[in-house]
Every structure is written in structure tokens, then in C-alpha cells.
Subunit: 332 residues, 4 copies
């Protein structure tokens, strides 16, 4: 089992899915110990650093892409998140003009003035495992639990496309779901030789919806085990934890994101339990959880989630998640 540590130079940051040369070539089974810069490219370090400091051509830098030996279109990349640790003593969040869920945007184009720009700095308290919210326009301070996640995990798109790292899509990407956390295995359909996956956009915590458009953004140390399943590519990203199976749909309007995730889960339940589509539709109706992931990116993302304990025992992808959990125990 290879165990590789990789921290990109600033010149190596990548801002797209697809279209970049591999940072590394790895074999299935590799443990990757990765460092990723925050989504702001470290441009916001105090509350006086406003988002006009951001060069929007260079946001959401990716660590990668990684070429996985043997991966071919139609295969399934399995990425298991072993560990996520803040790699800096603070995280930052900000309100960017005409960006976010409760403002007009370049898409929901309106004539109103932009919301005020502001930056919030969240100090990390490693001992208590909290980040500190401090009001910018008042004096409330609250320590919030650190719950690390990766906003962005994706492979190169199909059809020769190259997409910015701000987009969530079939290929994963900027899904911004709090479910992308320690203990999660992500299954992504491979579109190009080598899969060419990358990760980034570490969040020390994020609410569902990511309303203002930016989480508690911070540099991250990630430990990830990479595996390859020949064939079986899901149409949309699937996630698995010890307790849940999940699908992430990303589109607009948001009901379409939900429909995508729901149909993919109907099919997944069908595969696992031999269910007729109408029975899977009925069963899922009564057991699904449906937390929103983000309503702020180029596409909106919705998670459809099933609690394993409600269903008979079953293993997806031939027990890949269980094996990755075992490997993770060793890799940690």
C-alpha cells in the first residue's frame, strides 16, 4: 500500500476539473496525505480583508489532479476520507457581492444593490475543537464545534469538458455537502483515463445550504484512501458511511437536484435489494432523508440519504466501504 504525502506549490494549484496535467500518478489502494489551500487562496486573513481582495479567476484551488492507474471510463473511483484536520489556526467566511443564496446573483439577475461586503474570522481552538463566531456588527461570540468536511471532490468531466472548480455536477466537484466528512466513502463514475480526481475547499464547518456562499473556509490536511472498482459507474455521485447510503444530485432548479438524487437512489436500492422500481419508489418515499447541500453554487446540490439500519443488511459495491474502513484504521 503506497502512502504519499503531497502539498502543492502555489503554482501547482488547479482551478478546473479536467484540462490539467496530473500532479501525481497513483495506484489503487494508495493512502494520500494531502494539504489544500482555502477557497480564498489565503487572501482573507483578517476582518479588514474584504472580498474585493479576491481574484475570482483564482478561487477554490484544487489539490490534484491525481491520475489513478488502471481507471477507465465506466469504472468507479472510491475515495474514503480517513481524516480531516484544520491546517491553519483560523478559518474565514465572507459575503461576496452578488454571490450567495439570499442575494441576487449573475444568474438570478436583479437590479438591487449588493449586500454589504464583510469578512468573519473564526479562530480555531484545537483543544476544545471549536471555531469562534464573532459578530461583525454586534458583540455576540459563540464557539461552534469543528466539523470538518471537503466542499469539493471530483473527477474530470465527460465529453471533453473542462469545468471550473466552483461547479458541482455529475462528476462531483463543488457539492458543498457536510456529508463529505471523515468516515465517508465517495463513489464517482470515471469519465477519462486515470479518473483525474482532485480535492479542495476545506470547511471547518458548514450549515446545510451554505446560505451566504462561503463556509468556515480553511486550509486542510486530508487523509484519503483511493480505490478503484472496475465498471459499475454510478450516474451521479454516491456516498456511503457506516450508517447511511447517499446520492448527491446537482442541477437547477433545486427540485431537479432532488429528482436526480432520488432517481439514482431508487436505482441503487433496486440493485441492492432486487426491488422493482415502483417498490423502491414507494419504500424510499417512507424512509428518505433529504438534506440540502448548497443553494449557492453554479448548480444547487441536494443529498438523498437512507439509513442502513432501516433496511436488511446489504453491501454496496461488493463491500468496498467496509474494506476501506478497515484500511483506514491502519492508515490513521
Amino acid at each position: 500500500m503506497q502512502d504519499i504525502r503531497f502539498k502543492p506549490e502555489r503554482s501547482q494549484y488547479v482551478y478546473t476539473f479536467g484540462g490539467a496535467e496530473p500532479a501525481l500518478r497513483i495506484t489503487p489502494g494508495t493512502v494520500l496525505r494531502l494539504w489544500s489551500e482555502d477557497a480564498f487562496n489565503f487572501a482573507l486573513r483578517s476582518t479588514s480583508d474584504l472580498p474585493d481582495r479576491l481574484d475570482m479567476r483564482y478561487v477554490n484551488p484544487q489539490t490534484g489532479p491525481f491520475y489513478v492507474e488502471g481507471a477507465e471510463p465506466g469504472d468507479t473511483l472510491a475515495l474514503h476520507i480517513v481524516d480531516l484536520t484544520p491546517a491553519r489556526g483560523f478559518g474565514a467566511s465572507t459575503t461576496i457581492p452578488f454571490f450567495g443564496g439570499l442575494t441576487g446573483t449573475d444568474r438570478t439577475a436583479l437590479l438591487q444593490e449588493a449586500l454589504p461586503s464583510a469578512t468573519w474570522i473564526y479562530e480555531v481552538d484545537s483543544a476544545r475543537q471549536t471555531v469562534g463566531f464573532q459578530s461583525r456588527f454586534g458583540d455576540l461570540e459563540i464557539a461552534l464545534p469543528i466539523e470538518c468536511m471537503l466542499g469539493t471532490v471530483g473527477v474530470a468531466p465527460a465529453a471533453g469538458e473542462v469545468r471550473t472548480s466552483l461547479v458541482p455536477e455529475r462528476f462531483g466537484g463543488n457539492m458543498d455537502t457536510p456529508e463529505m466528512k471523515v468516515g465517508t466513502t465517495a463513489y464517482l463514475g470515471v469519465n477519462v483515463e486515470g479518473a483525474m480526481f482532485s480535492i479542495g475547499d476545506g470547511h471547518y464547518r458548514q450549515g446545510e445550504g451554505e446560505a451566504c456562499g462561503t463556509a468556515v473556509e480553511g486550509a486542510m490536511d486530508s487523509v484519503i484512501i483511493v480505490e478503484l472498482i472496475k465498471g459499475s459507474a454510478p450516474a451521479w455521485p454516491r456516498l456511503e458511511t457506516d450508517d447511511h447510503w447517499m446520492v448527491v444530485g446537482s442541477s437547477r432548479p433545486m427540485e431537479d437536484s432532488w429528482r436526480i438524487a432520488q432517481v439514482e437512489m431508487v436505482d441503487w436500492l433496486g440493485e441492492m435489494f432486487g426491488l422493482h422500481r415502483m417498490d423502491a419508489y414507494q419504500l424510499l418515499t417512507q424512509i428518505a432523508l433529504a438534506p440540502i447541500a448548497n443553494v449557492v453554487d453554479a448548480n444547487y446540490s441536494v443529498v438523498v440519504k437512507v439509513r442502513k439500519s432501516l433496511l436488511p443488511s446489504s453491501e454496496a459495491f461488493d463491500g468496498m466501504h467496509r474494506r476501506l474502513r478497515e484500511a483506514a484504521a491502519e492508515a490513521r
Copy 2:
């Protein structure tokens, strides 16, 4: 404290919010022990009862409306759910042609053929507190935990409108959220004298999204305490439990339902913690939960939810929920 038991005759069922004479006049503080028919008007009793048996003019019957003495427009009705118990030995669910989330509908008008009609019957096992899912097109059987909720809780609309009981809106109505369960207090803005609220659409369980359009629908025994807060009407329905504050937004497309709930929660946090709107927006971004309620009704409903334990101690509506919990302990 009044304690009233009410089971409507079939001729007393009501199918609208607004437009009906009060079933009862009650005073604030009353404990109501209500029986409600299932959403299908008891037309589906076996798997051979298909949805063509439904008279769509008479679905989702309401128990009520109740005239609350002293309630005036601008006031806030508080309804606390003390208990929900299945009032029948089985629940039913069904796929109605061109109704539901994964089919074209009268709104998402398409040319494809309807999905097959089918009815699933869920036997109630009171001892184990489960309902039994049985495949209609295969042989999988699963016992699922009973988690009772009310799909429909609402008051008469504003502006002289009368709306069918299938609609979720500002006035509450058919929100179909699993959060409307035992221990929840619902706060609804009063639009007409007496508030004129009703309840119905009991679900023995329902997944988030209510994908196929119908939950495990069943007759329900509900115990509800009714309180009145003078003034303070929220713009959209707010919910409170011991652990969470919540808002339900209902509109189309679904991102608008989320925006509604999010803005209302920004304002609620502002009220409770003296937060500037930008600070509340920022804080909510990092702590919100956002479970979808339904994607199948005339409007789609999304819940925005905040865990109380993340925030400093505070009481909404002057501690109404706490007092209702105390009253509930006596009423049970």
C-alpha cells in the same frame, strides 16, 4: 383548562383552509383530542383498491376548523402536539397517475405515460410500534418504525382566500414535514378572527420529500394544546421543539421555499439574539440544517432548522414552548 374530544362525522369533513364554518369554538389553553380521517377518505383499504377509487374533490379531509376566542389578525396561534397515535390498524400509500415527485404532473406537464397505479398497505404492529412495508412487485417485507406526524396543520388564509387542503403556504396547510410530530409547537400567524385552524393528513411515517406523493396515510388520534399569543405573527410557519427552532417555507421553485425559510430564520435569530441581519446570515450559514419536507404538493416545502444547543440560551415567544411542554405533561 378545557379538555375537548372531537371526532367529525363524515359530513363534517372540510377540504379547504378558509371558507368553512367553525366546527367548535374554543378558548386558548384548550386541550383538543381529535380524530382525523386519512388523506384518502378511507377509500384505500387493500392493495386491490387503486387510486382511481379516489374522488379527488374529496381528499385530505380536515378536522376543524376551530375558532379560537380572542384570535385576531396579527396574532400568533401556538399549537403544541402532545400525542399522535394511529387510529386504525393499517396505513395506506399509493401512486396516483401524474401526481408525485418523480413523474410529470398537471404543472410539470409532459407527454409521457403515467406511472403504474399501485397501492401499498402497511399493517400496524402496535406492540413493536412498526408498520410493515410489503413489496407489490416482489417479495421484500420490512418492518419500519412508526413515527407519527401530521401532514396538514393550518389556519385560514389572508385576503379572503380559500385554499384546498392540498396546499402548503404562509398559512401552514399541507406542509408534509416529518417535523410536525409529538413534542413540536407550531406557531402560525393569524389572518382572520378566530384563526380558524384545522388539522389532518396523519402519517404513520414519511420520508423527507414524500417522493411518491403519499406517505403511510392513516386515521390519527391527535392530542393538541391550543394557545394564543397576542401579536408577533411570524410571516411564515415557525416550529419549535426542545432541541430545535425551525421555519417552513413553501413555494416554487424549491430554491424559493428555502430562501423563504432562510430569511425568516435570519429574522428570528435577529429577534432572539439581537443580531444584525448580516451577522445572522453569516451565523446561520454555518449552523443551519435544511431538510426538505415535500416536493410533491401544490407548493414545495423546505424546513430550515437550528439546533438550540449551538446557541446561547434563549426563549422564543416568551417561553411559550416550555409552558406548553409543561401543560402537555399534565394533559397526557
Copy 3:
């Protein structure tokens, strides 16, 4: 043929579809000569009258409703617009806070400040048949052709509903399409005995989309011939002129409004030309016009429109439009 002139007293204005007593009972074939107040209830008479003068409970007053003898659910009401003439020397338009297409609204709920309130007064030049646009924040003045239309034409809704006059729906209502002009016949499905239709919301002119939410709003003299077709109720409002067949779909998101109108037109072409649905779908794909009506009301409205001259000769509703044109020639 009855010929009736009716101008409601202010106390007779109606603000809903459904829920009101008939203003008059008329027989099919009647010529109605109606006066309607502007959508602002005449509250905006100069540029210094800002929209905060509006009592939003009392906007979009309707003239009606009219009970049509013999009309039963399932029948089709045909309303032919013989003439529309400005009944006042000026029209008004205004930007209402959080209302309109390029601003956040109560549905597209955002945190940005409202756009500035402003009122524009358009003087009517009867000789040149123009209204005068005058910049409020500059000095451009332009005379625009008067092109009168009725924003609102509708019947009582189904299912016992009562809806505000601001809503466009299956029952017609506030569709705000410039196609509702002299020479147009509107076909509306009847939902209640007597049909109970009303009209209002006269516009001296309006662009497609009605972007800011209000057209050149003015009191209107309308001449309308009322006819009844037994049975044949369309699912959604259909319009006919000498040159076009049209359907108006109203829902959210806007693609659903389009889908509704498109499917209804597929079916209408099928009825008229004996076309299989797939052939009608194909043909319509190549010949449809699809002007947006409004993107500002409670539902968005889209018109799907077919030029008659592209198709073989055919008469909808047994030639009703042709007969109404003949009757109109006499009534004028």
C-alpha cells in the same frame, strides 16, 4: 341579444375570483359594456403618489362577477373582446418594494434593500393614440403607441377555492398577457354554476414579461360579448384571434408554465387536425411562438401561439370565434 352597460360603485369592486355574489346575471350572447378601475384603485395620480399609498388588500379591483345563465362545470365560457378604450386621461406605473421581476420578492426572499419606489404617469394623447413615457430620473420623453389589453380575465376556481385577483391560474385570472386585446376570444373552462367571471386590470400598454410588475395601468371601457359552449372545457385558458390560436399556462418555475401551455396546445392541435400526440409535438416544435406574458405575479404566465396560416383551415369550438367576430361587427 342583450346589451348591458355596467360600471361598479367602489363598494362593488371585487378582489377575488370566487367567493363573491354576482354583480349581474346575464344570458349567453350578451354584449357587456364595462368600466373597470385601474389596478391601483386610483391611488396613484401623480408622480408624487408613491406606492406606499396602496392598500395591498385592495388592489386589482375586478368588475363582476357575472353569472352566466346555463353555465355548468365542464362547459366553456367564450369571451370576445370587441373594444378596449382608455377611460381616463392618464395611466400610471410604479415600482413597489419587493414586487416585480428584477427584485427579490416575498417568494424569492432575499436580504437586499428594496429598489427605490417611484411612480411614472403616462398622459394619454387620444388623437395620436399614444401614452407619454417621462423619465423620473432624467429627461427622456417618448410617446408610445396605445395598445390596450386586459390584465385580468377569469372565472371562479374549482374545488371551492377563492383566489385573489393577483393570481393567474387554470381559471384565467391575472395572466397579464398583451394577447388579451381587441379581437381576441378567450375560452375558459367553467368550474361553478354561472361561471362567475370578472375582468379588470386594464393596461394602456404592456411589454411581454411586465418586468417591473405594473404596466401602464388605467381605468378601461371594455366591450365584451359573452357566449357559452356546452361542454368542451379546456384544461387551461385558450385564446383565439383571426390569425392565431393560443394557450396560456401559469405556474412556477417558468418552464412549467411553458410546459402546461405546450401540452395543452399539443392536445388542441390533436383535436383540430386529428394528429397523434407525437406528430402534434413534432409539428408544434417547428411552428410554435412562445411569448412570455408575465414573470411577476403569484404564478408566471407563458403563451404558446400558433399561426393559423401555417396550417390547414380549421375551426376551433365549432367556429365560435368567427361568429363572435360577426357579432362584434354589429355590437361596435
Copy 4:
């Protein structure tokens, strides 16, 4: 003035915007005489050629891209369509499973069966300038006027993206608007050196909305004059004819496409007439036309359109359209 004829070999077809080497380098002022293959890559030649013959990786082939000397990011590419002539004796249209406006798709993911696959062949009658619609499931035949247009006109995207030729976006692309016809000048913002524009997807005619997803698709001979304006890049594609100014917005849901086009037109009117944004908003409200372009592509496209004759005389882009019209008269 250069005058270049170019017909790509099949191996030269390009299926993306961005990501391809230039087919030619040209100077501003060049007249291009281009041949383009149909969107189906000539795979559908008779009604028995069903869409399963399509290799979806290779549809909507582009002729180009063309590198325009001197074009830099921030500049404006002006493309004037001098002539469009069918380059084949027939056009084809088809219903592709789960593609189109009145069916579930990969985005509006549903469980219903696909619509039937079928192909319609439209024979070109050059003398009468018609294409012949022939029912596939009945016997209606109609000759429809040829009204040629280009479905796809676009430049390379910004931010290093590469997008399939099926996508309409800021960079133009697959906008599928009938307004892209002889006499139209398209203004596109340049994102990369050389602009790298291409064209394709010729339609012998298309209705607004392109409901079934495919127009009367045919190989096309196009004559286009290419000009470059330094600076002045519009945010979204603008079109100009002798009679109209237009903007094309492309996004989802469709109201956002409309908002985009509307805001861009507000700004364009502001530039041309020195109007305050609120005055431009008001004026546009009363004069806009808003024909839908397509509701079937990866984004939906809406045109916002202003009739020049309603406004004072003005010239956009310093009279570029007028000069191109003059050049076109010579080039024809």
C-alpha cells in the same frame, strides 16, 4: 476584405466551445462562407433511422473554431449573418429518449417510460422555399416556409472552461433562437485570445421553445462577416437587426434566463439613451418583447427584444450593425 470558403472534413468537426485548435486564423472584416453538418452528424436520413443511431458524444458538430487576429479578452466579436441556405435536400427532426421539453430528462429525472422514438424527414422544396412536414402516425402533410437560422454560435468560454456544443451560456453557444437568422448581427464578449468562435446546428426552421429538442436540422451554407470591436464586451450575447435590439439569457430555471436578458437590456438601454436604471426598467417594462428560444438544452434560453422604432434613433456599438449591413450588401 478577405473572402474565405471553408468546409470542414468530418475529422475536423469540433464538439466543444474552447479546447480546440483553430481551424483558421482570420482578420477582422473577413467574409466567411461556411458549410456546417447537421446536428445529427448526418446519421438520420430516413424515417427508419431512429435516434439510437446517434452517438451522443458526437452531436452538434461545429464548424470552426476561428481565431480572430487581434481579439483579446474584454473585446467584442461581431458576427453578421449575410446568408443562410440549406445545403441538403432534406432536414430531419427526431424525438430522442429522455431529451426534450415535454419529457423527463437526465435533469428533470423521473421514473416514467421514455416517449416513443421517431424521426421525421422534411423534404426541401427550393422553388417554393418550403420544407414538408409529414405525419409519422397519421397522414397530415403540410408545407412550411423555410426560415433558416443557426442554432449554435459561440466563442470559447472564460476561466479555462471547455463546454460541449450543446450548451448555451454567456459565451453564446447552443442558444437555439430563431432570431439568429439572415440580417442579424451577434455581439459576443471575447474571453480568450483570438475569440475562437464557431458556428453550427443549422435549422431550416424552428418554433420558439424547440419543444421536442430538435428543429428541422440540416446541413447549412452560411455567409458570415466577422468584425471586432475593441473593448465593450457585453456580459451576455446581444443581437441586432434593422428593427430590433435583443439580448439572449441562458440559465435555469427559465425565469433566471429572462432575468439575465432583462437586466442586460436595462443596461444596454441605459448606455444608449443615458437612462437611469430605474427609468430603463420602467421603460423596458412597457416595450419589451420576450420570446422564448429553447426549453430543452443544458440551459434554457430567453430573448428580450426591443423594437427600435419605439425609441429615439440610436446606434449601438458605434453603428457596427449598419456598417455590417453595407458590407453584407457587397458580400452577397
